[in-house]
Amino acid sequence: MIFFAVLVVLVVIAQIAEFFIPPLEWMYHAHIYIAPVLVFYGAVALPFPLMLGLALIAGILLDALTVQVIGSRVEISLGWSILLYAVLAGIMHGLRPLFIRGRWEVHSVLTGICTSAIILAQYLMITFRRGTFLFTKEVWWQIGGPGLIAMLMAPVVFWVLNWIARVTRYPYLPERSFE
């Protein structure tokens, strides 16, 4: 439970920190997302009920801090991010045995893909709402860029979280260390 609490605190901090990280102009204004990397680590490291709990907290935060309410219209209803996080984290959770055996490479790649999937899902939802379909090079970079960055960040973040898990004596650690 201590490790779960640490993950929750880190997700909250990451979500706030994202407000102060400027988008990357050289990557077509792609944003850097840290919270999904933490959530997807939680998806493979935590047991199912706690994984759902983490997805719930991260989803509420993402929705509450970014959703747009204009007049009497909500662009993406509160709750969709929870569902997205839960589904994607559920997929990652299915690969937990691999992670327990110490194989983190697949999960790093999947973290990037899932991060992009969240942004793609958001884009599809606003596209359906606003009407016109628009898929330019910039759109693909803004969807793929954060995933790419998350993929690169994942090994370092996983290593740090693994260390925190050991410090907090979390029982479900991978058999093989991150080396």
């Binding site: 970014t66 709750g79 839960a86």
Partner: protein
């Protein structure tokens, strides 16, 4: 799947259903509550961000200084540091004086506000400001600078508010073009490609034939934005199947915003 997991899934489903059932008002209240809760963290983060930027600028000038003169002595460093600090103060004084002048000569009742955070999401262009209900800010109030229109408030909590920027596709502003009878709707682009985002001025007549450099202002239609606020300058004009569309360069450089004013009414 064990019993604990099934129970967790049921609880999760119930909470999810509860959130999905939220209407616009409930969502706005919930969002305002969350922003209010995090307001101290945002303010601290904003302060830290400014300090880090200031330190970075200081280090950069030291680097340049070292290249220019390797034998720089301690006295020189102290003098330069003092100079830098004074320059920061001068910049701050100028900025505030500028803002104060604008406030005094403006025809609107203005509440000054500082940008606390910028947009953290990919698809929405918003900023948060350090004013809220306690400062008599309400939803759908125009936000301006002395250069022109910035956007409008959407969610307002006690001490912090979200401002939807004019560069967002959802921020639609009725506008007119100087020297013509043309009227249209300005909205942001969904995806920003270049370094500076542009605005779309839609629903013009096909014969509008706007020229680069012409200025667009708010027309006052719709009730949210008063007339006469500078929106942007025409960059290009094209005729589409049903209407004419102009691309505008926004009047305000939104990427370097520090201070804004919320329009609460006319004087």
């Amino acid at each position: 799947m064990n019993r604990t997991s099934i129970i967790a899934l049921l609880i999760f489903g119930a909470i999810l259903g509860y959130f999905l059932s939220f209407g616009a008002d409930t969502t706005r209240k919930f969002q305002a509550g969350i922003y209010q809760f995090f307001a101290p963290f945002f303010r601290t983060g904003s302060g830290l961000e400014k300090q880090i930027t200031s330190v970075r600028t200081g280090l950069k000038s030291l680097d340049e200084l070292e290249k220019e003169n390797a034998a720089l002595n301690v006295d020189n460093r102290q003098l330069r540091a003092t100079n830098q600090a004074l320059r920061d103060v001068e910049h701050e004084v100028n900025r505030l004086r500028h803002a104060l002048n604008y406030r005094e000569r403006s025809v609107f009742k203005l509440i000054p506000a500082e940008i606390v955070t910028r947009d953290a999401s990919t698809w929405w262009h918003t900023v948060t400001i350090n004013r809220g209900k306690e400062d008599h800010i309400e939803t759908d109030m125009p936000v301006v600078t002395d250069e022109g229109l910035v956007g409008k408030t959407t969610t307002v909590s006690n001490t912090i508010s979200i401002v939807l920027l004019v560069t967002d596709e959802n921020c639609k502003v009725a506008s007119s073009v100087e020297g013509t009878r043309e009227q249209g709707i300005v909205a942001g682009e969904r995806v920003t490609g270049g370094l500076a985002p542009l605005l779309d001025l839609n629903f013009l007549t096909k014969q509008a034939n706007l020229q680069p450099g012409q200025k667009a202002y708010t027309s006052g239609v719709g009730g949210v934005f008063p007339s006469g606020l500078f929106l942007g300058t025409v960059k290009s004009f094209k005729v589409r199947e049903l209407d004419g569309q102009a691309k505008l360069a926004p009047a305000v450089d939104l990427s370097h915003l520090e201070d804004v004013f919320v329009v609460t009414g006319r004087k």
